[in-house]
Point group: C2
Chain length 563, copies 2
Amino acid sequence: MAQMNSTVGDLWGNAEKISNFISRAKELQADLVTFPELVICGYPPEDLLLKSHFVRDNLKALNTVISSTKDITAVVGFVDKDEQGQIFNAAAIINNKELKGVYHKMELPNYGVFDEKRYFQRGKEFFLFKLGNVSFGVSICEDIWKDKGAANLEAESGAKLLINLSASPYHAGKRRVREKLLIKRAKETDSFICYTNLVGGQDELVFDGGSLVIDSEGEIIACGKQFQEDFVIADLDIDLILKSKPNFKRKAGVKSVISFPRNIAKKSTLAKEQSLKRLTPLEEIYSALVLGTRDYVSKNGFQKVVIGLSGGIDSSLTAVIACDALGKDNIIGVSMPSYYSSEATKSDTRILSENLGIRLIVIPINAIFKVYLMALEKEFAGLRRDVTEENLQARIRGNILMALSNKFGYLVLTTGNKSEISCGYCTLYGDMAGGFNILKDVPKTLVYKLSKFRNKKEGRELIPDSIIIREPSAELRPDQKDKDTLPPYSILDPILKSYIEENKSYEEIITEGKLDPDLTKKVIQMIDRNEYKRRQSCPGIKITPKAFGKDRRMPITNRYREF
Amino acid sequence: MAQMNSTVGDLWGNAEKISNFISRAKELQADLVTFPELVICGYPPEDLLLKSHFVRDNLKALNTVISSTKDITAVVGFVDKDEQGQIFNAAAIINNKELKGVYHKMELPNYGVFDEKRYFQRGKEFFLFKLGNVSFGVSICEDIWKDKGAANLEAESGAKLLINLSASPYHAGKRRVREKLLIKRAKETDSFICYTNLVGGQDELVFDGGSLVIDSEGEIIACGKQFQEDFVIADLDIDLILKSKPNFKRKAGVKSVISFPRNIAKKSTLAKEQSLKRLTPLEEIYSALVLGTRDYVSKNGFQKVVIGLSGGIDSSLTAVIACDALGKDNIIGVSMPSYYSSEATKSDTRILSENLGIRLIVIPINAIFKVYLMALEKEFAGLRRDVTEENLQARIRGNILMALSNKFGYLVLTTGNKSEISCGYCTLYGDMAGGFNILKDVPKTLVYKLSKFRNKKEGRELIPDSIIIREPSAELRPDQKDKDTLPPYSILDPILKSYIEENKSYEEIITEGKLDPDLTKKVIQMIDRNEYKRRQSCPGIKITPKAFGKDRRMPITNRYREF
């Protein structure tokens, strides 16, 4: 199984990578090599699929793969097109330079981040393939999640090996759900399952790999690495497979059986089962953030990133993750102190930068802030200071970061977390100004956990403890604290989860959480009122079952009120 | 037909409005009153539909409408829910306080701006309703666009009147397409069609009304106003309807016929056919922009807007449209001249403001620009001025507008046009900073046409001619002109249309347009590279077949290159 990191739109780059994996498989004397869903064009290609020349070029790229598939069988995800111009999320079954068959995905997900019914027609039939003596079936991602779906039908028709090509986006805990489902499927179908998942970051999504080979008793016999490209090798005991179901049952569902010979004579000796060691929950999330960052930055052609460092925990963790993703030499920290910045946060920023070994630029903003206030003096005459002046400071900082970005070609990483962004406790064009937001889907309580996890892994205070224990503050006015505006994060985060991820009502939230009604109302109002800010936010990495972005499509103009 | 402007989420406000229209219909002694698609919850409600309490509250709101429907028949769009919790885009057929039947939309659009398969299950059956002697069928929007769809089946089963509830978003020229389709449908089914369309703005969409009653010979016998709420009254000649198809054919498709009596005895005397006068193409687009602006501002609870006026045509037209939408007292113009602003543009800004009678604030930005340059001096030492310093000026202006917005609660209108936004000829957090972008989907060549159109309508130079004839410039460096960066708009705009709206390839564009290959390449590269900017842009009004936003979902990370 080639657990490959393909790039959306990079048809020729992806095709070349696929061909390289096929060569490696041949060297290992494998019978069969499988790839993720839509590996030729990357996933999800979104509206590129509406360009007929894109689909045409994807078919050309597939042809180069077919012509490089000598003396081996490969199953490769691509976009198919029929004579009416309708397109399908498809798998090519290739043997010895010939396209033996094409399977069209039957279950098209159209929820959450998925829009597959926007593009694809639904597949209507499945096939049995016979590689030597072994019958196998092919399905794509969602197909195997559906009870009594294509995989089950194929098994009932005699398939002993169920190949599934996937592009299953990560969220915390999803690996467990996926493994459970596939083990159940293997047992109920009495078949081996070979599940090849995509790996890599694509805009807001991270695909986590973790491909699996499961035997017909539900035992995992090989497992791909999480969050890394991998080549998963498994030697299936063909005699056992053949013995397990002596009676070939052919049912009405199968239109045709497509047979081709094994291309190798002798059994591979190199094949080795992979380690089944899995990441802990925090390691998993951390790895997703690192991979998502690395791929967004590199696939978009950037090398260096610039981060505004406030001495707070969000920007600190962002810098640490960026270092792990891109290397310390590619990170530029910028400290932009104002009247309201404490000595403690300024000193912590220096210590953090030294700990990470990154360059730190210091640009104070007082003079700029003052001249803005003078320019606005006449208009603001007689009015009290309010959130306007706070936002102004945040926007001056945003401008400075963008100026460095423009001048030197750095990508600006924003540092907001999910709790802030949910409540709108952030400034549009201020701290929200930038190209990518690592912590966009990470609630504040998890920011703390990840920071402690990373320090522990390092065996020292990479993020100074003083940052972790300091009471959160935006430092935009004297003695400001987050708690002046928001409830404590330990109370806020569960409310956000119930309201945003679980779509619970106000009544359910206060009842189940035994929460103060007024506090809960206030939080819900903040979430609802700040949809317009989120609409203008930059992308970030999905790590929960429901992130902002394509995952949650709320109208801005919305007068629904629950209370 | 109640051509109503409903507001997304405002269940109780919408229900009250519906009940008022029903009362009016009763006063007019109408037999039947119809409403747009999903009128109870507004369209499109997007992910509000994933909240089960939202669906429940919409059913409660429907119940209040049912109980107010005395002695009359009403057809009302709402969200239905079955026992499994699946939801449907539905129409309630209500007679004299009783829910007589419910129709579920069969064709769920899932392309362009539509995501209906994300939420709704497909309806499976249709009904015939008999109001007195007249059999009618009910369908919803897309249903009637489909050949041999629900409307046709209903007619074949004996319906003489086909009622369609719609929420059909506007783009230039759509009214004509819609009328043509409905006339064809009326003729082929030999039925009367009563097509009730939504009116109003919702985020990026404008619904244009223009509801229609068409007789069985394809003649339009009544027509709703465009871009305004309207109550369309038509007296159908029932004897003629009944005579037209003497043989009631009942086919297998119809599960049941639901009959109820007419609630009035005498024929209405008030009913009058509406004028069929239609807006010209430019009037139509201009009206869409005015309605979209008015509804976005008012439905989001704003009263006043602030606009940065540069003396250029985009900000001038934006100000004129805003005046027409909101009244001159609600518009604040801000002139923010720099070293590079010419006397001519500064003077034109003053003249425009006087012509419109709006308040003009002048806040020069030189001092602020200077202090930024000083703050960045060390980092930028030895480097030449480039786009960084240009963007900085635009961002200072963005900050000033946002400061006014924060302090006084104004909504900032951005002034970019589709040509600029396509090519990324605009500054993120600079001139792109704001809440709503009236011209987001208006190409520059159309900006000129609309400006001239509006001046002509006024009978004087509302927008000074000097603004219209001046060569476009961003005035961010000495002697800068748009043409230094972009091809002439008369060449650029057709390329943008081919590439963005029509998904044409580079090859097709140069061949069909007889265009310079290098110039075309440069334009395509600019469009592709600036996806990240558009992702952070504020909403604007869709007026073309493909606007940015939900209508065009391109990946940011995208390595597809055609050449």
